[in-house]
Symmetry: C2
Subunit: 336 residues, 2 copies
């Protein structure tokens, strides 16, 4: 394939799909793995005192699951999933400060929230290794914390896996940052989505699902979800998981088991195909306030196999050395 | 300082300046250095056959410098600066292909150019170590190649230093990629700049230079240039170098010696203050075609000390743990 420059489905974001730079997946350097130091892991059971008190825990109770939280300076230990404030928060809930900026020094107060969702008592139980039952609890915790954070403008749920993808601790965990404004990329996506919705009278993401189901970018589907490598993938082996039903926010999701299954299958395929590479994922959801019916939430997974540097950072254009069609084929063939 | 959320001078780009996450500069991990393998370096003198023929070389001649290029399959060896096509180009000049996209699969042909500028015959002569005289040659080569590439829409000149910043070879080199379209970030900057110019009747960058000269974000100045850490720095220790005279493109620069000096001083300060960290830099210049008089070219330097991951990639918001004012103080104090 001759090198192409592709535009994202809806965003004004362009990617050079540089197949003349192409390397086969197996050409990526094998990953150097950090040894996980279980004894000092602040997220492992027994070390609960190393984190702030939990804002939410799930504990087994009468054959079911009970929601609870730490209180009175005590820490509960027999949890299955545990949410705690981040010890080094990017944003914190506090009384707003009066701030004055000017035309060239615009400023907002850095209030919000930043929590860690510890996904399992078992240190290495990452999504591709976890049971569907455990993953359902993790997703339930996402929904519970999202609901709690709906007093803010937006909340980003994301996961960094592996040191090269920014994970400072190797214990299976996700993060959630609630922001006092709608982030730029989400605002751009909302706006583009709204314009296309008004123009075509159909949600662009519903349309994308329909088109890509029959394309070489299709990876996987079950009753509720479909996975694909996007047309203008920014990262090699980037893929998205989208709900088949039109839902503007994750809070509308009822098909938790289907999503857990899609997540495990697709991340498992990535781990098998590329030797458990570092990756990040992030949810794209509608902001809490206002009418965003036209939006379609989805999860974007960004494997970290190459380094973005001077060209990307100073132009906002990207170079992807793996055509999404090859990536989809590899991922499709590694689904188990 | 309480955590703030700052907007870029002109772009709709927001950065969480999270001082509660702050680490002192010395807390950054010492860099693990690759051993440079001089014997097999394709950019070292004697190995010219390992690259495509040079499109431009500077060679000493009668006490001055002569421009030349490789021809007839031969390689000239006594060069001071050497420009060659990238062996794994992101974009290549060739006959355009007819391409058909559709509403959700927009596409352009991947034509353009991608060259490497080998900055010195000496393997490790990076800008902070090079003589002003050698740096002037490098900058002259930038200008010469830019002129050559002005048949395209835009050309990005950038430099990746260190493995973590994407440099696959450690020999001192820059790169230039000519694109068949104006990249997104440059287009956004042009548009914002034009609006502010029309509104205030003054170039916003000229205004920024005036304001920041007296601010805690000032780093350095000489006759022709000023360096500052931008108000909403995306990266810890990010800094910009701007021409004091209003010039919309690098091609207008006459003050090559002043710029060489500013570059050496500021990159030297970064290397001394933070143990020669990995970094990238990229020029922001006006596109070749059209009237962009209102734009003000500049160089942006992005040290690579932290990892951008799930949050940044899925929201387009950034977290910077070093306030630009602290970064400027550190860099100011390390200028020699």
């Amino acid at each position: 394939m001759a090198t192409q420059i592709r535009k994202d489905y809806i965003l004004d974001r362009w990617v050079i799909v540089a197949s003349e730079r192409v390397k086969r997946p197996t050409d990526f350097a094998p990953r150097i793995r950090e040894v996980s130091r279980r004894g000092t892991c602040p997220f492992c059971p027994g070390n609960e005192k190393m984190t702030p008190p939990a804002s939410l825990i799930y504990i087994p109770s009468n054959g079911g699951i009970k929601r609870d939280k730490d209180s009175n300076g005590e820490r509960t230990s027999n949890w299955l999933v545990r949410c705690v404030p981040n010890l080094y928060p990017a944003l914190t809930p506090r009384k707003p400060l009066p701030l004055t900026g000017n035309e060239f020094h615009e400023i907002r107060d850095g209030i919000g929230a930043h929590e860690v969702i510890i996904e399992s008592p078992t240190h290495d139980e990452h999504p591709h290794l976890a049971s569907i039952k455990q993953l359902q609890l993790v997703l339930q915790a996402y929904l519970d914390r999202l609901r709690e954070f709906s007093i803010w403008e937006y909340a980003s749920i994301f996961r960094n896996h592996g040191k090269e993808a920014g994970a400072s601790l190797s214990h299976a965990h996700s993060q959630i940052i609630a922001t006092p404004m709608v982030p730029k990329l989400i605002a751009e996506e909302l706006s583009a989505c709204k314009n296309l919705y008004l123009k075509n009278n159909v949600c662009p993401f519903c349309k994308i699902i329909e088109i890509e189901h029959e394309s070489p970018r299709f990876i996987y589907e079950n009753r509720g979800f479909m996975a694909l490598t996007p047309w203008a993938s920014v990262y090699p082996f980037e893929f998205w998981i989208l709900p088949k039903k039109h839902q503007h926010t994750l809070l509308q999701m009822k098909e938790i088991k289907d999503f857990a299954e899609a997540l495990k299958k697709c991340l498992g395929s990535l781990a098998r195909a590329l030797n458990d590479p570092p990756y990040s994922y992030g949810f794209h959801i509608a902001p809490f306030k206002g009418n965003h019916e036209y939006f379609h939430w989805h999860l974007e997974v960004y494997p970290k196999l190459t380094i973005q540097a001077g060209f990307e950072n100073s132009t906002g254009m990207f170079i992807n050395i793996i055509p999404p069609e090859s990536a989809a084929e590899t991922l499709r063939n590694s689904i188990e």
